[in-house]
Symmetry: C2
Subunit: 307 residues, 2 copies
């Protein structure tokens, strides 16, 4: 029984209204793995970096219960690099630089020792590569979660639709749900997207929380109102990591347990944005995680009994 995570392990350079960083460690799979590590201790990583990637970070991942045997380190090549600048509202950003580097010809390999995968998290990546990973699994996992973004809707829609048809849960943001469905109403958008294959759709709305849809039900999870949002990079990935990490640990994929998982995912996202990069996701205590989750419980709890 394990959680398999694929996605980028990368360098980012980030500028927000509160400061800027040099090259720091980022990447969807990095955030996902770190966030998931607070819930499950059996995480297998499939990704690729160049030999410019710091060994210390690979060690750090290992210390967070992440098996990095499936992390390819390509000699003489460079790690994927993204640089971006956030606007003042932190909800929108411009990409300054994208250097694909090792991602250009990434050929993911699911090791034999990874085949016991019960939970598969497909972090944001080329849809074709995401499909390849599903194709390499001898037994279909109990749950496949897919995270993607508008970029792939723009340049590889058909590939993306094929990947979407193969998964159980799709996570995208509200603008992406509107783009993918052509519907402004998120309720209508959800209906159309659920017809594309997934049984569950999570629409992430940043500071406005997240919605979970299946055919019959909908759940609205709040976001924690924060005094300071420092850097939104990785918030969606941290959410996904907390979500699937909690599910993998509890092994219960009912709608009711997904609601809980979304709260745990939201808690991890709320940590993530409080510092630059992955900094806040490193070395959290169980008590800190529990206290944060309790804040979410307190935030939305009310007591109405209708006769």
């Amino acid at each position: 029984m394990s959680l398999l995570v694929i996605g980028t392990v990368a360098f980012d350079a980030i500028e927000t209204p509160f400061g800027k960083t040099d090259k720091i460690v980022g990447g969807a799979a990095t955030y996902i793995s770190l966030a998931a590590s607070y819930f499950t201790k059996n995480i297998n990583l499939v990704s690729v970096v160049g030999d410019d990637f710091p060994n210390a970070t690979i060690k750090l991942l290992q210390n967070h219960h992440v098996n990095t045997d499936g992390l390819q380190v390509l000699k003489g090549q460079k790690t994927f690099f993204w640089a971006g600048k956030y606007h003042n509202d932190l909800n929108t950003r411009d990409t300054i630089t994208t250097e694909l580097n090792v991602l250009e010809n990434f050929n993911p390999i699911v090791l034999e020792s990874y085949q016991d995968c019960e939970f598969l998290m497909l972090g944001n990546l080329v849809p074709k590569v995401q499909q390849q990973v599903i194709g390499q699994l001898k037994k279909r996992p109990k749950l496949i979660v897919l995270d993607t973004m508008n970029f792939w809707m723009d340049i590889a829609l058909n590939d993306l639709l094929q990947t979407i048809a193969l998964v159980d849960v799709l996570t995208i943001n509200d603008a992406e749900a509107r783009q993918l469905s052509g519907e402004y109403s998120l309720v209508k958008a959800a209906k159309k997207i659920l017809n594309m294959g997934p049984k569950y759709l999570i629409i992430k709305k940043g500071e406005h929380g997240a919605l979970l849809f299946n055919k019959d039900d909908v759940f609205y999870a709040p976001a924690l109102p924060l005094e300071e949002v420092f850097d939104p990079t990785g918030a969606g990935d941290s959410f996904a990591g907390g979500f699937i990490g909690y599910l993998a640990q509890s092994k219960d994929i009912s709608f009711d347990n997904m609601k809980r998982a979304i709260i745990f995912g939201s808690a991890m996202a709320s940590f993530c944005v409080e510092k630059f990069g992955t900094e806040k996701l490193i070395g959290l205590t169980q008590e800190q995680v529990d206290m944060r989750v309790q804040q979410f419980v307190d935030l939305v709890q009310f007591d109405i009994t209708l006769v």
Copy 2:
């Protein structure tokens, strides 16, 4: 014991992506009174119209338990008229016409029979006029709720700040909270605004729900994801009406009961936007209201017990 409502009773002409209306009945106090009428049967109205205002609507308000003795009908004058056009996202709108008419010299009169007021709802109106109403009350109500908008922040900020200092609960939207406080973070904005006088602040976020703040606590109420939002006009007023109507009926102004009141207010707002103008707020059954509130309960309910 009664609920006193002041605000506009007006004509609106509305254009949304889904259609447009001729002059129809609108106005903050109209929406507030109708929404509140589903919770409390003792509503006193202070407002003004011209003799072009339909008697049938005054009758309708009376049928909804609204005492209209304090509604001045000015002979030979015209009712306040607003025309507006919503953009495609329904979150923003342009004002096409504003004809103040009877509002230009509105002199509100709190009748002797209205002096038993325990709950006062100051609907959106000139801040000076809102203050005049407070000044005419011989005994301070148990709870004063103030709704206002960016327009008064732009042209009458000092008057508005004086009014804000006199009330218990302020309701504004997120953009207005940012404008009033000069803070982007709503948590920081709330702190500053609570220092201006009110003990409670409600920040309305439209399709993203609402936040209730006091000095120590925060509550996040969702909005119901709707398939069709037809016309957002009056949603904030319907919210305020449901909120104060529920409080007036239960006579409990604790933070916990305000959380309930916000859910009832949100339910009334969710009805309001489903049709043009006040149409959907007329003749709802208790069962319809209860079912809608139950949808809110189901929408956010989750069960996490931390050890």
